[in-house]
Amino acid sequence: MDYDIIVLGGGPGGYVAAIKAAQMNAKTAIIEMGNFGGVCLNWGCIPTKTLLKSAKVYQYILNSSKYGIDIDDLSNVNINWEKMLQRKKDVVKKLTSGVEFLLKNNKVDIYRGFGNVIDKNSIEVNGNRLSCKNIILSTGSSPNIPEIPGVKDGLKSGFVITSKEALELLKIPEKLVILGGGVIGVEFATLYSSLGTKVTIIQNMDRILEFMDHDVINEMEDILLGLGVEILYNTSIVKVNKTDLTIKDKDGERDIDADNLLISIGRYANMKGLEKLNLETYRRGVKTNEKLETNIPGVYAIGDLNGVFNLAHVASAEGIIAVENIMGEDKKIDYRKAPNCIYSFPEMAAVGYNEVDARNKFKDIIVSKLPLSANGKALAEGESTGFIKIIADKEYGEIIGVHIIAPTATDMVSEIVTTMELEGTIYDVARVIHPHPTISELVMEAAHGAVHKNKDT
């Protein structure tokens, strides 16, 4: 046996798993055909957030008068797109080389090339066959491309793009159409409309962000409209032409033009190189149990490949759990305690049940919601759009869901995830002395509100 564990794919699932394995003294190898960090560091989480920060600064400049700063003529302010992209490249480079350093430092053997799984104990890479006791598959996902006439030609000509190309356009489009109002669609709508692009989202149902809490959906729609984004509901694309597209809604068909059409309608699991394993799959990817094991003993599937949550931190958490299980521990993943975020302006962060699901699942729940406009720090920051909503079960007051829209929502939600991990209640959170003035005081006040409501009934 060459290795105790071979990890296939060096994204946030794979590289975290490999480091964990090595730290637990397993002889470990990782195989990566592209760049370490996978989609997340190279074309996902990090590059989008880097550009979004630039867009946020640009928005501050456009709105500076509100803060008491006068700019004589806004035509003096210009986006230097090349520089923005360069900053993104620099950040990505720093982080990906950091990952490679960490892998080497932890004595993980690195193989660069396409890994072809021969059977559950061997993988071929660059003509060499490596043997191993266990395999962790973390090959990630790729964007779905719909079968719409003209899309293939559009992809070739560069008119149709995926999130990857949207991060390295030669120039900022004047008009961008986004097919799909999920998290990625919403983030790109935020990014480009903040930079001055006229953005249209085409959505095949009557709302965006399908699985989110309805209050989040409603507020996020308002936020996007406020940025000037147009959202076409119950609309589909019939045909993609050279520089425009034909859409269809209940009133019939019409053409709209665009500089680019961004496709963001979900992702499919990367199964290339895994064919020989005969893995059991389901709609979203490779089927796994709570321990992240596939139908083949000793073979684990983590991250976007199993498709439960397409989120980097979930991939990493799964990677650690898979390794711990291989090393003889008995660990399970609890997807209810995995937060999800949107890096819009303001940000959205949520964890646990949304209100409707909570009502269906629990006998009695308490819902407490407060607007950001009731918060001193939010007013001081001049950013008081948003809310915090806490959902607790009535019996013990245990927190089972939280939904936050706030400028720092993504950093705030960790308080709640930690509380849920420790089975904390609204009574606990209401008592915690939150610093003043902070937006996180609203968490405390919403918890107070929940305690009150529970008394009344």
Partner: protein, 56 residues
């Protein structure tokens, strides 16, 4: 001094577990915790209580 021998050791437990133990009359110091560092979780109280009931 040794009236409550089970209280000699600090018990790590979650707020929900503590409340549930109180409600069900479970002596939390007797429950083996499944959480990190042996923290007693609500699941542990539930399991302890139902196996306790079966014994009776």
């Amino acid at each position: 001094k040794s009236e409550k021998p089970s209280l000699r050791k600090k018990v790590l437990a979650t707020p929900v577990a503590r409340k549930m133990a109180k409600d069900l009359g479970v002596d939390i110091t007797l429950v083996k915790g499944s959480g990190t560092m042996g923290r007693v979780m609500k699941e542990d109280i539930k399991n302890f209580h139902s196996s306790d009931n079966k014994k009776k």
